[in-house]
């Protein structure tokens, strides 16, 4: 399958990319890893007339931990994040990066591209909304830094202007005694998840939940922060009963649609089960245990 014809422009800096997008007009688009855009173009669901390739911009793929923050260059590939030692300290980030699609896609796809695409089935949105995350964008008017919850506006829609690009994603390191987990359930490695749950919590003592965030993926037009579910656990003891109440509230917060990945009812049940499991893993990690978790599919 072939994309509709387009002109190809290689930017050497974000400033140049921004300028090119301005000159090339509304039908031009940014090309980062291309793992969403290229399939869409091949199916002719996207028909940009011009692509501005930013893969040759230098210094845009670093990952740095500094001053209680992790900074990801927009072009940090999922594999770079999976392998990063700085990231290992925040297990939920590793869960997410290490299971996105398959090896080949992770080698090419980028964190900046994933957030800018704002696919409701994307993994990074749900994961990063459980942490204090901001997105630094570069455009003709200079830079601005936007909180992730304000960055994503709707399905496939962000606040980015046409000539604006993601430069960096900044994640604040969680406090001590914190743990998180991202669980995505999918039919096979290479497909989007049917449902996913991201939980990040902080424990006080052995089993009191000091703070918690619960975000649901693939079950709405955007990743859904399930605040009522969080209230069921914040300040309370983490036990079977309270976890059950969180899962119930998460099921209610979900807004799934029936499609080829499953019925709405099925997805609601699934997301509740994932939340339950993610809380258990997050709590164990918060207490310092090492637990393997992440994307789940048949044959893994």
């Amino acid at each position: 399958m072939y994309a509709y014809p387009f002109s190809y422009h290689r930017a050497k800096s974000l400033a140049e990319a921004s300028k090119l997008l301005q000159e090339l007009g509304e039908e031009s688009r940014v090309l980062a890893g291309g793992q969403s855009l290229i399939p869409l173009m091949k199916m002719r669901m996207a028909r940009p007339t011009a692509l501005v390739d930013i893969n040759f911009v230098e210094g845009l793929s670093g990952i740095q931990g500094h001053n209680g923050e992790l900074r990801f260059g927009a072009l940090a590939r999922h594999t770079d994040i999976e392998m990063s030692e700085a990231v290992a300290a925040i297990p939920i980030l590793h869960d997410c990066a290490a299971g996105i699609a398959d090896v080949q896609v992770r080698n090419q796809g980028t964190i900046g591209g994933s957030l800018a695409e704002a696919d409701p089935s994307g993994d990074w949105g749900a994961t990063l909304l459980t942490l204090e995350t901001s997105v630094t964008c570069a455009g003709p008017q200079g830079e601005r830094t936007i909180k992730l919850e304000d960055f994503i506006k709707d399905a496939f829609t962000t606040v980015l202007g046409h000539e604006e690009l993601v430069r960096e994603v900044v994640v604040k390191k969680p406090p001590r005694n914190s743990g998180g987990a991202y669980l995505a359930f999918k039919r096979s490695a290479s497909v989007y998840a049917t449902a996913s749950a991201a939980v990040q919590l902080t424990v006080d003592g052995k089993d009191i939940c000091k703070d918690i965030r619960v975000v649901l993926g693939c079950v709405g037009l955007m990743a859904i922060r399930a605040k009522r579910a969080e209230d069921e656990l914040r300040g309370k003891k983490i036990d079977g009963k309270s976890i059950q109440r969180v899962a119930e509230a998460a099921r209610e917060a979900a807004e799934p649609q029936s499609d080829m990945r499953g019925s709405a009812d099925y997805k609601r049940t699934l997301v509740g089960a994932l939340v339950k499991r993610a809380i258990g893993i997050a709590a164990r990690r918060a207490r310092g245990e090492r637990v393997e978790a992440g994307h789940e599919y048949v044959g893994r």
Binding site: L31, G34, I38, L51, V103
Partner: protein
């Protein structure tokens, strides 16, 4: 041809400098197959799923049906044609032959490159690591058991080298 300006793509494929003038929308897999006549890399699903088109680009596996050729400009590519040396099969190829890790062979070029990528960074992969490494490669014949065997054998052989 459709009005879009042609682009020169220069790469090193299997150690050899190659170039061609192509439409920007040319997929890397078609650039390899049609422009460079390297037809060992296969097109299976053409939808970023099956991994038959897997090649190494700058040391990392990518699905060459999901890159426009100009994105690989200046890059170093390894395709299945680059594995054998002086008529001798690469240990990974040899292991797939020995263990009958293929039937129709269509997915094999991609699986060989995914295996090589795994073993380049991890000489003693666990069963789980092997499964994860080939999760992006679909085989419709073997049921994967002999592929797993072949990868375990290749790991052993490459360690000896």
């Amino acid at each position: 041809m459709s009005g879009a300006e042609m682009v020169t793509v220069r790469v090193r494929v299997n150690g050899e400098a190659r170039e061609a003038l192509v439409e920007p929308r040319t997929l890397l897999v078609d650039f390899l197959r049609e422009n460079l006549n390297l037809t060992g890399t296969h097109i299976g699903c053409d939808t970023t799923y099956c991994g038959a088109c897997t090649v190494l680009l700058n040391g990392r596996t990518v699905k060459s049906c999901t890159l426009f050729a100009p994105m690989a400009d200046g890059g170093e590519i390894t395709t299945v044609e680059g594995l054998a040396r002086d008529g001798a099969l690469h240990p990974v190829q040899n292991a797939f032959a020995e263990c009958h890790g293929l039937q129709c062979g269509f997915c094999t070029p991609g699986l060989l490159l995914s295996t090589l990528y795994l073993l380049n960074s991890n000489s003693k992969p666990t069963e789980q690591q092997i499964r994860k490494a080939i999760a992006g490669n679909t085989c419709r014949c073997t049921g994967y058991q002999n592929i797993l065997k072949a990868i375990r054998m290749a790991a052993g052989e490459m360690e000896k080298r």
